[in-house]
Symmetry: C2
Subunit: 345 residues, 2 copies
C-alpha cells in the first residue's frame, strides 16, 4: 500500500524520435503542465541527458514515469542499444531510484528490469494512452496522430481492447498506422499527381513531406514543422513550394502557384483519406460503430475538420471532464503513476 502524499509530483516523460513530450501531474491527477520539445534524437543523441536534466531542474519531480519510441531511431543499431541509451540518459539526469519505466503490457518496471528486458519497454508509449483512456471513458477509439505514426487504440467496456503489443502485430491489427502529419514522405502518400488533365507519377525519392503540403496550404506554421526539411531548405511557403514541385521534377518557375497549391491539396487529401481509412477499418473490424472517436496528438488539430468530412462520427473535445487533447502518453503515464502513488489503484 502506498502512503497517500498529495505533494507527490510526477513527471511523465515520453521520449520519441523527433520530440520529447512531458507532462506534470500532482494532486489527484490534475495536470499542471504539458509541453512538447522538438528533439531529433538521431541528430544529437548526446544532448538528450542535458535536456532531461534541464526539465528535471525546472519541474523538480518526486518521480518520473518514462515511456519511449526514440530507441527506434536509426542512430541505434538495435532497439536494445537505443533503450539502454535512453535509460542511461534518464538516470544521468535524475538518478535511477524514482524512475518508473512503462512496459508494453501497461505496468511500470524499474530501470534495472528495463535494462535487462529492453523489449518490454520498447515502443510502449501507446499503452499509456489506451490505459489512461480506459480509465476515463467506457467505449472509444483513441486516435493519436503524431508526426510519423498514428496509433488507433480501441477501448471497450472501460478496458484497453488492443490486440497486439509489438510493431508488426500492431500493423497487422490496424492499431498502428505508419503515417503522420509531418515527417511522412509525400511521394509515398500520393502515387500520382494531377496537373491539369494529366496525371504524373510522383518520384519515389524523399523530396517533400506531408508537412510541406500542410505548410504550403497554411494548415501549420513553421513553428509546427518540428522536423528537418528533406532538402535542408527553409520552413517557408516558398521553401515548401520548391520541395513539392520537385516531386514531379519541376520547380516554382515552371509551375504556377495554383498548380503547387493543387499538389499540396492533393497530398493532404490523400493522407487524410489514408488516416480515415485506417480508422474506419478498425471500427468495422472491431464493430465499434457507436464508440466515440477521440482525436489527440500533435496532428489532431490539423486533421479534425478534414477527417470529420470523411468519418460520420463526432470528435468530442472533452470526455468526462478531461480535455481530449490532454490524452498523450506523457500525461497518461504521469497520471497513472500518480494514481499508483496515491493508492487509487
Amino acid at each position: 500500500m502506498w502512503q497517500v502524499n498529495k505533494k507527490i509530483k510526477v513527471l511523465g516523460l515520453d521520449i520519441g524520435g523527433a520530440h520529447i513530450k512531458y507532462a506534470v501531474a500532482q494532486n489527484q491527477k490534475a495536470l499542471l503542465k504539458r509541453k512538447i520539445i522538438p528533439f531529433e534524437i538521431y541528430r544529437t543523441p548526446k544532448k538528450l541527458a542535458p535536456l532531461l536534466k534541464a526539465i528535471c531542474k525546472e519541474v523538480k519531480p518526486s518521480a518520473i514515469a518514462l515511456s519511449m519510441t526514440g530507441e527506434l531511431a536509426d542512430v541505434f543499431v538495435t532497439r536494445r542499444e537505443g533503450v539502454k541509451f535512453i535509460l542511461n540518459a534518464a538516470v544521468d539526469a535524475f538518478g535511477g531510484n524514482a524512475i518508473n519505466v512503462l512496459t508494453v503490457k501497461g505496468s511500470f518496471v524499474s530501470v534495472s528490469v528495463a535494462m535487462k528486458q529492453t523489449e518490454l519497454v520498447s515502443a510502449a508509449n501507446f499503452m499509456a494512452t489506451v490505459l489512461y483512456t480506459a480509465s476515463i471513458v467506457d467505449n472509444s477509439v483513441v486516435v493519436d496522430i503524431g508526426s510519423t505514426t498514428t496509433d488507433i487504440l480501441p477501448v471497450i467496456n472501460w478496458s484497453p481492447a488492443i490486440l497486439a503489443h509489438d510493431d508488426l502485430g500492431r500493423l497487422k491489427s490496424g492499431e498502428l498506422f505508419y503515417g503522420g502529419y509531418l515527417r511522412t514522405n509525400a511521394s509515398s502518400v500520393l502515387q500520382e499527381i494531377s496537373i491539369g488533365k494529366t496525371k504524373v507519377g510522383t518520384c519515389p525519392e524523399f523530396f517533400a513531406t506531408v508537412g510541406d503540403a500542410h505548410l504550403y496550404s497554411g494548415d501549420i506554421t513553421a513553428k509546427d514543422y518540428t522536423c528537418q526539411t528533406p532538402d535542408g531548405g527553409p520552413k517557408t511557403k516558398r521553401g515548401a513550394g520548391i520541395r513539392l514541385a520537385r516531386l514531379i521534377l519541376s520547380d516554382p518557375q515552371t509551375l504556377s502557384a495554383k498548380e503547387i497549391e493543387s499538389i499540396a491539396r492533393q497530398i493532404v487529401k490523400a493522407q487524410t483519406e489514408k488516416i480515415a481509412d485506417a480508422i474506419k477499418k478498425l471500427i468495422v473490424k472491431r464493430k465499434m460503430q457507436n464508440a466515440k472517436i477521440l482525436l489527440t496528438g500533435a496532428g489532431a488539430k490539423v486533421y479534425r475538420v478534414k477527417l470529420a468530412r470523411m468519418i460520420k462520427n463526432p470528435f468530442p473535445g472533452k470526455v468526462n471532464g478531461i480535455k481530449v487533447e490532454n490524452i498523450s502518453p506523457a500525461s497518461a503515464s504521469a497520471t497513472k503513476l500518480l494514481s499508483a502513488y496515491l493508492g487509487a489503484e
Copy 2:
C-alpha cells in the same frame, strides 16, 4: 564537311548520378568497348576528374561525346551548378577542344556553349538513345531500364518521335518513368505487403530498395548492386532480408525465410507491373502496338523474362545486326559523333 579519317576514335561518356558509362567507337561505327563504372557523384564529386582522366589515359580518344544526368544529384544546389561541375571535370581530364556535349535536341555543342546554356545539355542522354535507335530501326519503343529511372522512347518511321525534352514534360508524356531496378524505394513501389492472409501497410521510410528485393531473390548479385544500401549494411542475402523485413517493422528473427522471400517477390512483381504499365500506356497512347520493343540498360536482363509475361511483344536481342544491349547513351553518342566526323551525316 569533315575529312574522312578512319583512325578517329570517339569516347562516348555518359555521366549519371550513380554510374559512369562509356563506350568507344571507331571505324564505321563499330563499337570497340563498353563499360559501366559505379560512381556515386554525390558522395565523392572530387574524384570525378581523376576518374575521367584515367579513362582517357586508357582509351586515348581523338574526341569525346559527352552526355549527362549526374547534375541532378542533390550535392549540386542547382542543375546549372551540376552541369558546370561535370563540364569542368571533363575539361580537366581531357582539355576542352575536342569535347562535344549532347543537347536535349540531339545536336552537339562545345563546352563553352554548354557552360552558357546549361539547360540545353542537362539530362540530355535520352536523346542519344532515341536518335541512335532511329538510325537503325524504323519503328520501335526503346525501353532503357536504369538503376533509378526508365526511359521509354518511341521511334516512328526512322525518326525519334518523342514529345518532350524536359523532365516534367517527359513525365507527362510517359517517356520518363521514375523507377528502376536498383535504387528505387521499395515502400513506394508496394503500398501493402501480404503476410499470410493479412495485408500490412509498408512503412513510408527509406528502409529497403527494389535492389534488395532482387538481391534476396537472386535476380542480381552483390556486384550488380552498385549503389549504397539504405542502412549502409552489407549487400548480402542476409543484409537484404533485414532491410526487407524492416519495411513492416520486423526482422528475420520474427519472419520466416519464406515470408521474406514472399516480400521480395511481391516487390519485384509490383515494380515489373509498374514498368509494364508504363510501356503499355505509351504504346496505346502512340498507337505503336506493332512496334518492336527494345529492352536495354542495366536493368534489362533483370526484367526481360518477367516483362515478357506481362507484355505480349517479343524483345529482340538484335536489330539490323546491332545488339540491343549496346543501345546506350554512351554508345549512341559515341557512334553519332563518329558518324559526324566520318561525314555520314
